[in-house]
Amino acid sequence: MSLLEVRDMGISFGGLKAVDGVSFSVEAGQVFSIIGPNGAGKTTLFNLVTGIYRPSRGKVTLAGEDMTGLAPHLLVRRGMARTFQNLQIFFRMTAMENVMVGCNLSERTSFLADLLGLPSVGRQNQVTRDKAIALLERVGLAPLAHAPAGGLPYGALKRLEIARALGAGPKILLLDEPAAGCNAVETEAIDHLIADIAKAGVGVVLIEHDMKLVMKISDRVLVLAHGRPLAEGLPRVVRENPQVIAAYLGDHGSREADRAHG
């Protein structure tokens, strides 16, 4: 039994089969990458797996437990966290508060205690703050802990989302283009971070356009095109697959090919 098993996922928007019969499984400690041209259905697949969209067919199991169609906040409680391609940051909070929110599942105060400001709330805040600082250190953002998130550069926000997701203590972490818009140095840092997360035993599902990054850190790669799986396997094998090369050199893919070589 794999940590995460996705079987025969599918959803259509109007007539468009955005995701159509996709299956994969991810083991603990593995980096599993999903690649494919723009509009291939990668983000939609994430949205199906994380409960944002209800799949019209297919099944998701996490550690053997059926998770299909569960609401996002319940999925997180069972160990599945994610980041978003289009940043979803709490812009009016500081970097640290963002991560503190990410730690909310481990917080143990009741609404009444919060309202009355009982001493337990103060102690809880301190515990959460310590956790958040540790997570910010892990992603290299500790110096910016008290900066308003709204003013942080893009690359920092990408890492902030990862820190926030880690706050839930996930078994499986889904990252949607964590290195998009990052410079070489930032990409390198994210590369190390992902490897570090996987080494700690978390299964990582990675959507990424940066081929260098994908080929370097992935244990397995799934290629999607037009919502359908095109190939799956070891990075080096997938890269040589003629269908994959064709998809990437087609009209949708030339930009990807450029990125892969540049």
Partner: protein
């Protein structure tokens, strides 16, 4: 640097607004001891208490309500109807009104809090209109448009009467309300509310039950409104459906926005602005409303974050 850091710390300290508010409450009777002034001040505290509900709901959680006066009306009429028609103790009715408002908010909030933005605004507006309509039309119980007399409140045997006593009772109520609102802000619940304000998707993505948190904020707001309404009815000794009117709802929203959305002290300043200014402008007679409107526009143009947050930011920037 040292002075700035100290002042910044003071301005950000959790209980600073509470201490300043308490100091103000002690100062007002010294500076303006006439019973007219005390009555106006007590009204400010009551309206601020009602508006604090919106500070939690709109300021923290980002959920608009254009029907908040509906809950004020429920609390007010609980204190009016309970003693007059059922022979209940007024203080008990104040509590029952708060519970009733909370229960109604729970029932109404579940379906309408699924709506967002304008749609939520219109749905809450509808709720407020219905409450006002019921209070208007159920004349045998509510006295209809003319309203009804409210019997005196007694706190554990002490009959509250006189401007100064009401001033202290409303001061106490507002201090407690402000303390609770500040407590929420500095707690996991407060972080969850502010988080879903910025991104519901991301908040849910961290495990927050967005629907449940919004509902909690809505119920809390209703209880604030109802307690304020009950105090208003008991202090005035008379209540009309005006308390639950749409224009009153709008006034409450204006208070939290003028004072500074999400700021507890700002809410009090906003309430003072909208309660005291009309009193000061009565000399202008028919121009009163126009000048009040103009002043609101000027304040929003020059202090778009609201009075308190804007001034705070100004002070912090100007320091050497």
């Amino acid at each position: 640097m040292g002075a700035k850091a100290t002042l910044a710390r003071v301005l950000r300290a959790r209980f600073t607004p509470l201490i300043v508010l308490a100091a103000l409450m002690v100062l007002v009777p010294m500076l303006a001891p006439s019973s007219f002034h005390l009555r106006v001040a007590a009204l400010v505290w009551i309206f601020a208490l009602a508006a604090l509900g919106l500070t939690v709901l709109m300021g923290y959680a980002g959920q608009v309500s254009l029907g908040h006066a509906g809950f004020v009306g429920i609390g007010a009429y609980a204190v009016a109807i309970g003693p007059a028609r059922l022979g209940l103790d007024p203080l008990l009715c104040l509590l029952l009104g708060a519970v009733l408002a909370g229960v109604i908010a729970y029932g109404v909030g579940r379906p309408i809090l699924k709506l967002k933005g304008y749609y939520l605004a219109i749905a809450t507006l509808g709720f407020g209109v219905i409450v006002a309509l019921v209070l208007h039309s159920e004349a045998e119980i509510t006295g209809g448009p003319d309203g009804m007399a409210v019997s005196r409140l007694s706190l554990f045997g002490w009959r509250v009467s006189g401007a100064l006593n009401w001033y202290w009772v409303t001061s106490g109520a507002l201090l407690i309300g402000a303390l609770l609102a500040l407590n929420i802000a500095a707690s996991p619940t407060g972080r969850a509310l502010r988080a879903l304000h910025d991104s519901e998707v991301a908040a849910a993505g961290t495990g927050i039950d967005v629907g449940a948190k919004k509902l909690a904020a809505f119920v809390a707001a209703a209880v604030y409104g109802a307690v304020a309404g009950g105090l208003l009815a008991a202090m005035n000794g008379l209540i009309t459906p005006e308390a639950a009117s749409f224009s009153h709802s709008i006034e409450l929203v204006a208070m939290v926005i003028i004072g500074g959305l999400g700021s507890v002290f700002g809410t009090v300043v906003g309430a003072a602005f909208l309660v005291v200014l009309p009193q000061m402008l009565t000399a202008l007679q028919e121009y009163e409303q126009a000048v009040l409107g103009l002043l609101i526009m000027v304040f929003m143009i020059f202090l778009p974050q609201g009075i308190v947050p804007s001034i705070r930011a100004y002070i912090l920037e100007r320091l050497p």
